[in-house]
């Protein structure tokens, strides 16, 4: 089955549009909205549920992200070379993926329930947040669906839907500017859906509160506790020209 025009559009062109939006949008946001770059935490309003749900969600998500990195970036040939059989790989990946996915889903379900039922938290929820949550949940659900379908396929002995021969080569090929549209168009519907929702999430990323993920404060580990800073020699350079505030 050769790729159609739609395939070229979705797997050949769209990824670059999304990358452009993600990179450009993040740069734009950093230049013009550093003040809005925050977690917008609602812990002040409600702490009891958040203290369970938020770590469950975030840690689950971290495992999911690591799983994606491993699954997408490491070619099948490499794992074969170190002697990991296809079955071993899939059993580990699917079981770990299922656990992490379900944890993440459980976390975000609790978080959204909290957000809806706790008055002050709901009042502080913007339309932007709601759109973001919808896409994020869709991505997680679609991802879990692919995991479950793969597991079922694995149990019944079929390996046609192996993402390591379809999605992963395509993903890597995007970054070497030679998108392997044929590989991706051979993937199953669930994977295609998950990929599309994922692309939507990346496109939304710079414009939502998700940007806080980019400012994970890792360098805190390496700095002295007390920070001293000198007064700016000159008034803070403004990132855009000064103009009248009312026009």
């Amino acid at each position: 089955m050769s790729p159609t025009a739609l395939d070229y559009l979705l797997w050949g062109a769209l990824p670059y549009v999304v990358i452009a939006v993600l990179v450009g949008g993040t740069i734009w946001r950093y230049r013009y909205d550093r003040f809005g770059w925050t977690t917008r935490s609602s812990q002040l309003y409600e702490s009891r549920l958040l203290r369970i749900a938020s770590p469950v969600f975030h840690f689950g998500l971290l495992v999911v992200i690591i799983g994606h990195v491993v699954g997408l970036l490491i070619p099948e040939g490499w794992t074969d070379a170190v002697g990991i059989t296809n079955d071993m790989y899939h059993v580990t990946a699917l079981s770990l993926g299922a656990i992490a996915g379900v944890t993440t889903l459980g976390g975000i379900t609790l978080l959204i329930w909290r957000r809806r039922t706790t008055g002050p938290v709901f009042s502080a929820t913007t339309v932007n947040d709601k759109v973001m949550y919808a896409v994020l949940v869709a991505a997680i659900l679609a991802g879990l669906a692919t995991t479950l379908l793969s597991a079922v396929a694995g149990l019944t002995g079929g390996h046609e839907a192996d993402y390591r021969e379809t999605v992963s080569p395509w993903f890597r090929s995007v970054f070497v500017l030679q998108p392997d549209v044929a590989a991706m168009s051979a993937a199953s519907g669930a994977f295609k859906l998950h990929t599309l929702v994922g692309l939507a999430l990346f496109a939304l990323f710079p414009f939502t509160r998700l940007v806080h993920a980019f400012s994970a404060p890792v360098w805190y580990l390496f700095r002295p506790y007390v920070v001293y800073r000198s007064r700016d020699r000159e008034p803070t350079p403004v990132s855009r020209p000064i103009r009248r505030g009312w026009s």
Binding site: T39, G119, L221, E234
Partner: protein, 620 residues
């Protein structure tokens, strides 16, 4: 000087004289109006005044077993944030386990004023019910920033004071035995700030030039660790912007040599601002001394004597300009904290090296002594009474010296000695140097301290050098960075921001002028437009008063002053009469005329209406 002087830094610090605080909350209110009167900051009080004994704000913030603020000394003698080091901070970043919730502060509310005018007609007078500012839902008000003000709630609330719980039955809440004093609190601008240490983003910093601790709003990512880190709970989370905010020591004012808003507006004149020079290389070691009760002395050792030539040389070496060193020599903070040793740090045991210090209150000891038949101002009697003061020394010691009563007693003895010494001076008796000597001071020092504490002249209370580190500032000149209206042709340049053919900004520009007393009163007491003549915009006219040019001229005697002003030609001709008419009698007439009753056919010059109103005003 035996000790080598490390890197010298300057800190703008504060001392508050608790003996003079009357708990009026003016500092809190003016601070709130200036800085936190915004959405998302409703519950935020950069400055608050607590009644002690009391729970403080937020509730029981001093209970570090629970909130884990400040620093902890490890077995190896190193300091670590009490809530955990770097790894633990990052591991708990998704939900801060030690963060106070809004209920520990209070749920901010407003009142449903709209209901007062929109309620349907009925037999009952409509009321304005409280509504949450977080949800908009009706709330039951159960707590607020000063719920236990003036010991309200008595033992029920006061017994929850962490210090009361620690020192047990020394504190009594029976009315006859109760005591209280006020503790105004702002950010301590610590030398070893644990909030700064807790910030994963590195958005919080201590300014090298003046020691003010600030939050970079562009770098803060809302991780909330600073709220936990600060044992004084003086970093707040703005729940609208999702960023931390805190007391800035009014740095825009301090930079140009003005005192903070809380200091400026303090009616008791109990706040002192001045520069303290300190050796930043000694801070870490001093904050890590083994015994908590040594922290007060250790912090004093960090401070440098600005009169010492070696210190001056070291300060100059480290880029502190001369005028800052000169200012440090006259600093009331240095004088009260280091030289006279009457000011004490708040909770030194948190190991943050706080820089807002307090002169502990001497209870109403003179009256108490006089009632027992003793001479209430005799030095001997005063000294003997200190241990039995109504405010237990133990309580003050828990606040200011990690529980060591010694330094507190010494301060109170100095304050008592000052009274005894000054009584002799005021009664024209011979000065008795032995009184001052008994507390380790000289008579001269005591009188200097008296001048600073009792007379508290503005220039001596606030000794603040202008900022350095900016080229212009180093020449002693602070240029305003610029007014946003000062663009080409803008209002600040005499223009109106370009010609606009329609709308409010159309027509002749209004001449800018300083408002006079009369013009101000005129504007405030009249319902109609006042001030210089201008074109009337009918769309803005609310139908009240007599705007110039709208109605035919009336008799001069009968028309309000503003009508006259509206006609420059007549204004000139009749100016002698106008001077007369600006007499108080004339001015009172503005009231009824501006009342909206001023249409044609209202009461004449001597009509009953005018007399009635005049009578009212005289009666009240």
């Amino acid at each position: 000087m035996a000790k080598r002087i490390g890197r010298v830094m300057a800190q703008v610090a504060m001392v508050m004289n608790l003996d003079k605080c009357i708990g009026c909350h003016t500092c809190s209110v003016t601070c709130k109006q200036a800085w936190t009167n915004r959405s998302g900051m409703e519950y935020v009080w950069f400055n608050n005044v607590e009644t002690r004994p009391g729970q403080g704000y937020p509730r029981r913030y001093e209970d570090q077993e629970r909130w884990e603020g400040g620093w902890r000394r490890t077995a190896a003698g190193r300091l670590k944030p009490r809530a955990g080091g770097r790894l633990k901070k990052l591991a708990t970043i998704f939900a801060n386990p030690k963060m106070p919730s809004i209920q520990d502060y209070y749920e901010p509310w407003t009142y449903d004023y709209e209901h007062l005018v929109s309620a349907p007609l009925g037999d009952d007078i409509p009321g304005a019910r409280p509504r949450s500012l977080l949800t908009g839902e009706p709330v039951k008000i159960e707590w607020s920033a000063n719920w236990d003000d003036d010991l309200a709630g008595g033992e029920q609330l006061g017994s929850q004071d962490p210090i009361v719980q620690r020192i047990g039955d020394k504190v009594r809440f029976e009315y006859e035995q109760a005591f209280m004093f006020y503790l105004p609190r702002i950010c301590e601008h610590c030398l070893n700030p644990s909030c700064v240490a807790s910030c994963p983003s590195g958005a919080m910093y201590k300014r090298a030039e003046d020691g003010i601790v600030l939050v970079d709003q562009d770098k803060c990512r809302g991780w909330r660790m600073c709220v936990t880190g600060c044992p004084y709970k003086k970093v707040y989370f703005n729940h609208k912007t999702g960023k931390a905010e805190k007391c800035t020591l009014c740095y825009p004012r301090v930079e140009v040599g003005m005192p903070t808003v809380c200091s400026e507006t303090c009616v008791g004149r109990l706040r002192y601002l001045g520069v303290v020079l300190y050796d930043v290389e000694r801070v870490g070691k001093a904050a890590a001394v083994k015994d908590e009760q040594d922290l007060y002395e250790a912090q004093l050792d960090v401070f440098l004597d600005p009169d010492d030539r070696e210190v001056q040389a070291a300060a100059a070496r480290d880029g502190i300009p001369d005028r800052w060193i000169e200012s440090a020599k006259r600093s009331p903070v240095h004088l009260l904290a280091k030289k006279f040793r009457v000011a004490l740090p708040l909770h030194p045991e948190y190991r943050t090296m706080p820089m807002v210090w307090y002169i502990p209150p001497l209870s109403p000891v003179v009256d108490a002594l006089s009632e027992t038949g003793h001479d209430g101002e005799d030095a001997g009697n005063l000294f003997a009474a200190i241990d039995t003061l109504r405010i237990p020394v133990e309580y003050l010691a828990e606040l200011f010296t990690a529980g060591d009563p010694e330094p507190v007693t010494a301060v109170l003895a100095k304050l008592a000695a000052m009274r005894a010494h000054m009584r002799r001076v005021n009664l024209g008796e011979e000065r008795d140097e032995s009184i001052a000597a008994s507390v380790g001071m000289t008579g001269e020092d005591v009188e200097r301290m008296y001048r600073l504490l009792a007379l508290a002249k503005y220039d001596e209370r606030y000794v603040i050098p202008t900022a350095y580190g900016v080229d212009e500032a180093d020449r002693g000149v602070i240029d305003e960075i610029g007014c946003s209206l000062d663009f080409e042709g803008g209002p600040g340049m005499g223009g109106m921001g370009g010609q606009v053919p329609f709308g409010e900004a159309s027509g002749r520009p209004r001449p800018a002028s300083v408002e006079t007393f009369h013009a101000l009163r005129d504007r405030q007491t009249s319902d109609a437009n006042s001030g210089p003549p201008r074109r009337l915009n009918l769309l803005n006219w609310d139908g009240k008063g007599r705007p110039p040019g709208l109605f035919p001229e009336r008799d001069q005697e009968d028309s309000p002053a503003r009508d006259q002003k509206s006609s420059p030609a007549r204004d000139q001709k009749t100016s002698p009469e106008r001077d007369q008419e600006d007499s108080p009698e004339r001015d009172r007439r503005h009231g009824p005329e501006a009342d909206g009753k001023g249409g044609p056919g209202r009461d004449g010059e001597n009509g009953p209406g005018r007399h009635r109103r005049t009578g009212d005003e005289e009666g009240t």
